[in-house]
């Protein structure tokens, strides 16, 4: 059984519903029509482009090309993490903390899963490697962005309490431990919720896709469970690393709270 192919007309019809939503938003002055249309357009353009890229990549499945696309995805995800910080680390750190943590967690988990668990031939087979990395990056990105944002925002809001603890002779890591714990938790909440709701409230996207493509449900389910575990561990270790690295960077070698290392982003809000 193959996939039922969609015609451009089908997509055009689906898009009219988005246009209708935008029209209502405009009439009722929700102010969301512009971002809605822009992101709908971005979805179309970006997905079409990646479609072409994947087509080419599948035809030229060499390690170097797969690695280059993976690197590109990582760098874009790193930028996205940075853009979601209200108060981010100044300079290279703003980009580095999130990207490095994502690199360590997502890439490591993907390579591990490909070599030890799924074992396609060759292990970097793009049909497996790229979607797997994409799912991991997308989720790790969320966790890291949420965790880092909570870390820097809380440190800013509670700077006086943190300094009060330093004045009492607490070490830097003890002075920030509550915030660090809280940031970790916040980063992990989405994936914990997703695992709890999987199959009962929502049918996860990858499983749905495989079933639509004709895979037996039990095979799709096994893949989905594997992916959930990979995402949970990738997000967990990534957030752990990013929050730990970030909380170190908030203090200098003399255990002073250095909020001058954060820069306020000029938000569009």
């Amino acid at each position: 059984m193959g996939v039922i192919a969609l015609s451009p007309l089908d997509l055009a019809l689906a898009s009219t519903m988005v246009l209708l939503l935008a029209w209502i938003s405009r009439r009722m002055q929700f102010g969301i029509e512009r971002p809605l249309l822009i992101s709908a357009l971005r979805t179309t353009v970006q997905l079409t482009l990646i479609g072409f890229v994947l087509k080419v990549l599948f035809d030229n499945a060499t390690l170097i090309w797969v690695a280059m696309l993976a690197m590109l995805m990582l760098l874009i995800a790193g930028r996205e993490v940075m853009a979601r910080q209200d108060r981010r680390f100044a300079g290279w750190w703003g980009y580095g903390v999130g990207t490095l943590s994502m690199f360590i967690s997502s890439v490591a988990v993907t390579v591990l899963a490909l070599n030890m668990l799924i074992q396609p031939q060759p292990w970097y087979l793009p049909q497996y490697a790229i979607p797997l990395l994409g799912m991991l990056l997308g989720n790790t990105m969320n966790g890291i962005a949420l965790g880092l944002d909570r870390l820097t925002t809380s440190a800013w809001q509670q700077r006086q309490q943190i300094e009060a603890r330093l004045m009492l002779g607490h070490s830097a890591s003890r002075a920030i431990e509550d915030i660090r714990r809280d940031s970790m938790r916040v980063g992990l909440v989405p994936i914990v919720n997703a695992m709890a709701a999987a199959g009962v409230i929502s049918l996860p996207g990858m499983m749905t896709g495989q079933i639509l493509a004709g895979a037996p449900p039990m095979e799709a389910v096994k893949y989905q469970i594997l992916i959930m575990f990979l995402i949970a561990s990738g997000t967990g270790f990534g957030t752990l690393g990013a929050v730990w690295l970030g909380s170190r960077r908030l203090f200098d070698e003399r255990e002073r709270l250095r909020l001058d290392r954060l820069s306020r982003q000029n938000t569009k809000k």
Binding site: Q158, Q160, Q161, E163, A164, R165, L166, M167, L168, G169, H170, S171, A172, D178, D252, R254, E255, R256, L257
Partner: protein, 199 residues
């Protein structure tokens, strides 16, 4: 080796250069207009802000020990106390009953909610909290600004006792000339970041 607190050419962006020595048991009262750098000087001594120059405690330089060990010995009581837990008790490991009594509290204070304490109560409790550490130097930033007369004398008595019994060196920022008269063994004035002895 000089006992007590020794400050050599201490300089930050807005303060200094400052040279000052406070012997054990001595109380130096520091006055100066708002914005003259009193609080910044105290913060630099506690190594909370970047600074140049050296600060030594009993002859041992600040930078040779861990920052948190330094601050355990050089206690800064800020003008406004900060609390991170919900109850007062969450901030105390072994409450010193005698000290709390001296400051006008009973033991039940440990069950109090921070949010329900007045500024003055919090200020006195913050002093008790700080004194859990084995400090050798006490840096006070207008500690009695929000207290009534009775509590002002309680705090002054506690500090006096610390100087006499534990030979703690005190640097006391105060706006009140009468208080300076009562507690100081030496008086300094700070003007645009520089110290002058008041004679």
């Amino acid at each position: 080796m000089a006992a007590g607190l020794t400050i050599k050419h201490l300089r930050t962006l807005h303060v200094g250069p400052v040279d000052l020595a406070i012997s054990p048991g001595e109380c130096v009262v520091l006055t100066g207009a708002s914005g003259s750098g009193k609080t910044l000087l105290l913060r630099a001594i506690a190594d909370l802000d970047c600074h140049e120059g050296e600060v030594l405690l009993d002859g041992v330089a600040c930078h040779t020990m861990h920052a948190h060990d330094w601050r355990s010995g050089v206690g800064l009581l800020p003008a406004e106390s900060q609390w991170w837990g919900e109850s007062i008790g969450a901030h105390f490991q072994q409450p010193d009953e005698a000290l709390l009594k001296q400051l006008g509290f009973g033991c039940e204070v440990m069950d109090w909610e921070v949010a329900r304490c007045s500024t003055g109560e919090r200020q006195r409790l913050a002093l008790a909290r700080l004194l859990q550490n084995r400090i050798k130097v006490l840096l006070l930033d207008e500690p009695t600004a929000s207290l009534d007369a009775e509590n002002v004398s309680r705090v002054e008595a506690v500090v006096k006792q610390l100087r006499q019994e534990r030979a703690i060196a005190v640097l006391w920022v105060s706006h009140d000339p009468a208080q300076a008269e009562r507690v100081a063994t030496r008086r300094m004035r700070i003007e645009s970041g520089r110290l002058q002895e008041v004679v």
